[in-house]
Amino acid sequence: MAAFSFDWNAIRSGLPYLLQGAGLTVFIAGVAMLLALGVGMAIAILSQVPARAVRGLVRAYVEVFRNTPLLIQIFIVYFGLPQLGLRLSPFLSGLSALVLYTAAYNAEIFRAGLEAVPKGQHEAARSTGLSALQTLRHVIIPQAVRISFPALGNNLVSLVKNTSLVSVIGMVDLMFVANDISFNNFRTFEIYATTAVLYVLLVLGLTRVLNATERRMLRLR
């Protein structure tokens, strides 16, 4: 067979599209993380209420979404729900699956964060006259968020990589663009190698930013 020759032109012509795809990956991961932080926090707070039924439901949600593959969750939303009359676009299907999956992991981290805040903080805040809700909002949650920050950062890094799965149902991200280009020009090696480098830059860049933020938070304390 003919020796392989690396085609720089394929990279040169594909790179603008790949960069757009990388931008979309960042956008999707960012939006999904913001939503998953909200849902995760709400679920973590629900896990602290006295009602056993609520705690049981919350536990079930977290365990089910953490212990089944994200790909299957995406397929259930995109292929399964239409059977029940709920038809979502690839974008909404992919996004909601990513949010539900990541929120389950975030909830577990927030829960641990809430439980790590010393009990005395709670009692002290209440004794100054704050209501239970005010105590949660102004005293407990800010500390819990700070404790949770490193683990949440890891979740965001995983989410950036997990975003690649939504390409399977036709949602456009970096992985989708890479497949699209390489299946058209057949320069699979060049295009996938470039895509890998882009993911590495994204993930390592993000890790740097998160570590710097973490150090700053520790100084502030």
Binding site: E63, R66, T68, L70, L71, F75, I76, F79, G80, L204
Partner: protein, 215 residues
């Protein structure tokens, strides 16, 4: 909800499950062996080897597994290495498992206080003996929870092999849906089967972690 479609196709899904379990165990065995070596390479006295290992591990861990699978299956043929779907998936997942195990091993060893190392060396043990008889046995206990966590993610991620046509649980489910059109019931069943495999692993990992915290 159509229960009969689940009942009728359960045996086929279970055959897929067997394949999932075989793939996952094979990858765990291969990836763990390579991963322990790669993790220990971070503690050798040759700086260049430490740096190279660190870079490779970081690089692989930063790339989505799906891209690794596509790379092996679609891009390596360009270099003349044309592997069928099954070995492609095993190779890609083994790389993933190796890098993630290496990270667990590194973290476990670094969590052992330096004094342990110095004390062992001062009793006359060589560096290798210290690692083998003092550091590693203690570190293994700390590696166990995150290692089981990595294995759980691997079991879930074997589903990605379906995308390049490997027969396992997700592929078996897709094939059944092509015949029956009951995507909701069958994906839900597949999710339930993955849950039955992964939930005990997660529980074990959490208990082991809690035991460690208590000391």
């Amino acid at each position: 909800m159509n229960w009969t479609v689940i009942q009728e196709n359960l045996p086929y899904l279970l055959r897929g499950t067997m394949s999932t379990l075989i793939i996952a165990s094979g990858v765990v065995v291969l990836g763990t062996s390579a991963g322990v070596v790669a993790g220990l390479l971070r503690f050798v006295p040759w700086t260049w080897l430490v740096t190279v290992t660190a870079w490779i591990v970081e690089f692989i861990r930063a790339i989505p597994l799906l891209l690794q699978i596509f790379f092996v299956f679609f891009a390596l043929p360009a270099l003349g290495l044309d592997l069928p779907p099954y070995p492609s998936a095993i190779l890609a997942m083994t790389l993933w498992m190796t890098a993630n195990t290496a990270e667990v091993v590194r973290g476990g060893i670094q969590s052992i206080p330096r004094g342990q190392f110095e004390a062992a060396r001062s009793t006359g043990l060589s560096a290798l003996q210290t690692m083998r008889h003092v550091i590693f046995p203690q570190a293994v206990r700390r590696m166990l929870p995150p290692f089981v966590g990595v294995c759980t993610i691997l079991v879930k991620d074997t589903s990605l092999a379906a995308i390049i046509g490997v027969f396992e649980l997700t592929r078996a489910t897709q094939e059944t849906i092509e015949r029956t059109f009951s995507s909701f019931e069958l994906y839900l069943t597949a999710a339930a089967i993955y849950f039955v495999i992964c939930f005990p692993l997660t529980q074990f990992s959490q208990r082991a972690e809690a035991r460690l915290q208590r000391g």
